[in-house]
């Protein structure tokens, strides 16, 4: 394959990565934007989504499509429930104090990781894609499922945007993000909004995990890379800016995907870190951010 088509292939890979990253990072960004806390265990929600998807595929051995559908339903619900429990038992207790939340979610991260290690094991296990077809380009065949992933992720992103701008919950979320005290004064049920947002953020990550697991494999340590990439995305996009998150996700996702194809994933991560350094030197608030950290 000559360079042009190879570049196109890399671009496709990058786009798929970008969509999934956008979904994951959006969850993190929403939580930070509305609740002003960082959930270090966010990557573990992603990992749980993937692991639960594997579990669903074993339940419905015969039909990967059914397994996938079940996973899309079950994983977000289960992970959302875990998020709600964490919010109720832990986050509320520390009153959403930023530093305490970080330490607490690190604790949560290790507990979840160990649980998965104990019950699922240290191996990486593959999950069959729900549908298998190849899209034929003149130079190569590309996995149709990956394109579906991109499509589904795009749909979810749009749905989230719609929810944020058109629904009452979205209004509550934006109000709480703008000014907590005034939102409370206007009767916005802040505690419930917080719990909902935390659960939604977790669910977005879980869905991203379900979508990507046929492409990668389910492994108990797979949450780390999405976490770090999401962090890079929210720093570059600007903490608290949803538009910035999506734009940065595409910037990072596409370049990460492309560099991974041409060179190596390791190098891609190192370069992303250097990019963050550059952004910090010239624009400490991120590309769109208001630097409310």
């Amino acid at each position: 394959m000559s360079f042009g088509p190879y570049l196109f292939l890399a671009f496709l890979e990058g786009t798929v990565t970008a969509f999934v990253l956008a979904l994951t990072a959006l969850g993190l960004s929403l939580v930070f934007g509305v609740m002003r806390i960082v959930n270090v265990a966010h990557g573990e929600f992603f990992m749980l989504g993937a692991v639960l998807a594997w579990y669903c595929s074993t339940l419905l051995e015969g039909s990967p499509l059914a397994g996938f559908a079940l996973a899309l339903l079950l994983a977000p619900l289960a992970v959302g429930a875990l998020a709600l429990a964490s919010d109720w038992l832990i986050l509320r207790r520390v009153n959403y104090n930023p530093e305490s939340t970080i330490v607490a979610t690190i604790g949560l991260l290790y507990i979840v990781q160990q649980l998965v290690l104990t019950f699922y094991g240290p191996e990486a296990r593959p999950v069959a894609a729900p549908v298998y077809f190849r899209v034929s380009f003149p130079w190569f065949g590309y996995s149709g499922y990956k394109l579906i992933v991109a499509g589904l992720a795009a749909a979810l992103l749009l749905a989230t945007w719609y929810a944020m701008s058109r629904t009452r919950l979205g209004l509550y979320m934006r109000a709480t993000q703008q000014d907590l005290e005034i939102a409370q004064a206007f009767g916005v049920p802040v505690r419930r909004v917080y719990a909902t947002v935390f659960a939604l953020g977790a669910m977005l990550a879980a869905v991203a995990g379900v979508l990507i697991v046929p492409v990668q494999q389910a492994h108990y340590l797979m949450g780390l890379d999405p976490l770090l990439l999401s962090f890079i995305v929210v720093i570059i996009g600007g903490l608290g800016s949803l538009k910035g998150t999506v734009v940065a996700a595409f910037l990072i996702g596409i370049s990460d995907g492309m560099i991974s194809v041409f060179f190596s994933p390791t190098l891609a991560k190192i370069l992303a870190t250097l990019l963050v350094a550059a952004v910090l030197v010239f624009r400490p608030g991120g590309l769109f951010g208001d630097n409310r950290a």
Binding site: E99, V276, A277
Partner: protein, 329 residues
């Protein structure tokens, strides 16, 4: 979550007590080697080296109020600078250690110049990412660093010249006393810093940075100083580990080794000079004991962090200071 109130009265008397206490601890650690049974002997040596790491972390986190999730990068910088120089160039122990400390200081300074432009959560995330980038770089240059597998120094490391005799690094007494020397220096340096005018400014930066600026302090410079000292001490720990336990490996650059000093410091009491030492010791034995029945030590790590933040935010020495000994630095 960090410290309790500082004692305001009669600083002179307080200083005397503080000095006496720290010297007593240092002496006790030295004497312990004659009383400890063999099993605990090497353990305590290891604890002392790792406690140095926590002491360095505490300078930045406990005193200056900057939480870092990337201190493994300083530990690894020290470990690899020392380890590689011994392995490839057969540098002797003391210059290698100095090289390690220097590496940590340089990494911290360069990192700080970039990262200190952010604050709070952004700073935290940046520390995490840079540490991970360093970890990946170590893995990337596998042929030189031997990646995760690591390498030992036993062949390349020349015995130490102690008052005319050549003592090999395999000698347990050298391990213990080398560790003791490193942790004692770190402890005294951090205590001196905490009691100095600089220490006062660091605490002020932690409590209210803007106010401190308007009192005439260049807070960026102070934060950078704290970061460099913190990085240098952490690197000293890494360098000492490489020399005394003869192992250099990429695991020490991984995220878990950035979480450990946070855990040890929180457990022992952030913002206290003795807290990191106590916390490292307690956690080490906690994991040691529980690994008798289960290999799920991550539960202990995760559970401890949760328990600390929910019910015991002051940590051991923090609680001691708040309840009984208000003059503890």
């Amino acid at each position: 979550m960090t410290t309790g109130p500082e004692d305001g009265g009669a600083p002179r008397r307080r200083l005397g007590r503080v000095v006496a206490l720290h010297l007593a601890i240092v002496a006790a650690l030295f004497l312990a080697q004659f009383l400890l049974p063999a099993y605990h002997y090497t353990n305590v040596a290891r604890i002392m080296v790792l406690a140095t790491f926590a002491i360095g972390y505490n300078v930045l986190f406990g005193y200056t109020g900057l939480m870092s999730l990337g201190h493994a990068m300083f530990f690894a910088a020290g470990m690899y600078a020392t380890g590689l120089s011994v392995y490839y160039f057969e540098v002797t122990a003391v210059p290698a250690l100095a090289l390690g400390v220097l590496a940590g200081a340089v990494v911290a300074a360069l990192f700080g110049l970039v990262a200190l432009r952010t604050s709070g959560v952004s700073f935290l995330i940046v520390t995490l990412m840079f540490a991970q980038a360093l970890y990946l770089t170590i893995l990337y240059f596998n042929e030189i660093t031997f990646g995760d597998q690591g390498f030992t120094l036993s062949r390349a490391l020349a015995p130490l010249n102690v008052a005319g005799t050549a003592v090999p690094f395999s000698e347990p007494a050298l391990k213990y006393n080398g560790a003791w020397l490193v942790v004692s220096l770190a402890l005294l340096v951090s205590a001196a810093l905490a009691a100095s005018p600089i220490g006062r400014v660091l605490v002020a930066v932690r409590e209210n940075e803007e106010r401190t600026r308007l009192l005439g302090y260049n807070t960026f410079a102070y934060k950078l100083l704290a970061l460099v000292v913190s990085g240098a001490i952490a690197a000293a720990s890494g360098a000492a580990y490489a020399l005394l336990f003869s192992y250099v490996g990429a695991t020490f650059g991984s995220i878990l080794y950035s979480i450990y000093p946070l855990l040890w410091t929180l457990l022992g009491g952030a913002g206290t000079t003795l807290g990191p030492l106590v916390g490292t010791g307690v956690m080490y034995y906690l994991i040691d004991v529980t690994s008798g029945w289960t290999s799920a030590y991550l539960f202990v790590v995760g559970g401890s962090l949760l328990a600390l933040v929910l019910w015991f935010p002051l940590g051991i020495m923090g609680a001691v200071r708040a309840r009984w000994l208000r003059w503890l630095p």
